[in-house]
Symmetry: C2
Subunit: 240 residues, 2 copies
């Protein structure tokens, strides 16, 4: 370990030095006094699997850094039909798409740890911190492209293509967090996956079974999936 790192971590607020997402959250761009300011208004919080963190028409009092676990965003139609808008992982920022209300319900799929900021304070801080503004803009841009990919999937892909794309996406997320690119954990239910892909649980289940039969994937314990034939799966996904 070099001296710089030692000094840095020494000067760093405790809540940050202990943060599992320290180097991949938006905070990584903050200069030191900024980090301290943020830490002063931050509250860490843990949610248990299955817990609803917020409802879609709750006032958006907070923005969040996901420091561990998997979060799911959903929207409902008045008759109860549900769409899963996306999943968030360690290092992701939650709050980019917020208006006065959250606009979507926020659910903990696993034990979730967050670092939470009051929206008003965060906004004020944002105005004084161009580095953070740039970081958020860059993340918003990434999310916008991800949303477009989701739109393409829902508008034009077949059931098989959707499931294949989803498995590749989950494995990719796994990989960016340091895991194997051929292993995906699926902490969500088949119903969640179906609502993400615009399908039913039965269809998701059938496609997964078919891919397993064709030995493109293997189902492992604890809802893990091994991608046995990456090329085949990519082929079945019809691209981004």
């Amino acid at each position: 370990m070099d001296l710089t790192t030692e000094i840095t971590s020494g000067a760093c607020p405790k809540v940050c030095s202990e943060c599992a997402a320290r180097e991949i959250s938006i905070c990584r761009v903050l200069p030191h006094p900024g980090l301290r300011q943020m830490a002063d208004v931050a509250a860490t919080k843990t949610y248990v699997a299955g817990e609803t963190i917020a409802f879609e028409d709750d006032s958006a009092h907070h923005v969040f850094n996901i420091t561990d676990g998997v979060v799911m965003l959903t929207r409902l139609l008045s008759d109860g039909r549900r769409q899963v808008l996306g999943f968030l992982f360690k290092g992701d920022f939650l709050g980019l798409a917020q208006g006065a209300e959250y606009g979507c319900s926020i659910h903990a799929l696993t034990t979730v740890r967050v670092c939470r900021f009051p929206t008003s304070v965060f906004r004020r801080f944002l105005l004084q911190t161009p580095e953070l503004e740039e970081e958020l803009l860059s993340r918003a841009s990434d999310e916008l492209r991800a949303a477009q990919t989701h739109i393409m999937l829902l508008g034009r892909k077949t059931a098989t293509e959707r499931v294949a794309s989803f498995l590749l996406y989950m494995a990719e997320r796994e990989a960016t967090l340091g895991g194997s690119p051929d292993l995906a954990f699926l902490p969500m239910t088949r119903a969640d996956i179906a609502d993400y892909l615009g399908l039913t649980t039965e269809t998701v289940s059938r496609v997964v079974s078919a891919l397993k039969r064709q030995r493109v994937i293997q189902l492992l314990p604890h809802s893990a999936v091994r991608i046995a034939d990456h090329a085949q799966l990519l082929n079945a996904s019809a691209g981004r």
Copy 2:
């Protein structure tokens, strides 16, 4: 007219004082020296209806303000299936979702006038202009919520609900540009609408005919649609 306005418009770069989107484009937040700097690197350009402004894997050399007309963004799968990602109107900024490539093809549906900036210059300028950064972040947030609404539509709405939602959306955009909230112009073909809604031309046509038969809408010349029964259409749309 008060004195402030007079001085402002007098000092304003010619290209900006002549701009039809002056008060609704991102430039409205720029301080005076900033506006001049922007104007210095801006190029106005006109595209004819049907023209492709850029292809999805072109290098993203420019960002654009749409100063007049309607723009359509599309993405293709390798086998030619097409998804329309969205439409842009006067005052909209194009470039938020861009990476090294545009990521989607850009089409002029009508005569389109743009104010175009080289991406590299724009990025550099952005770093010096927090007002602009805030404005872009706010627009990115709006677009993200719009994308979520599109995702909900594609994932969970029926054909009728999709078409009804689309007509309401177009009328709303019309209204924000100063038109009637019960009148929508549809400069795109049925195929474009179908590719936006994840349907076929035939289905779009059938639903439009049905809504016309039920006297919820009227079709006027020049691809205009009058919303005759706003409440019914809203009802048919199943909400946002």
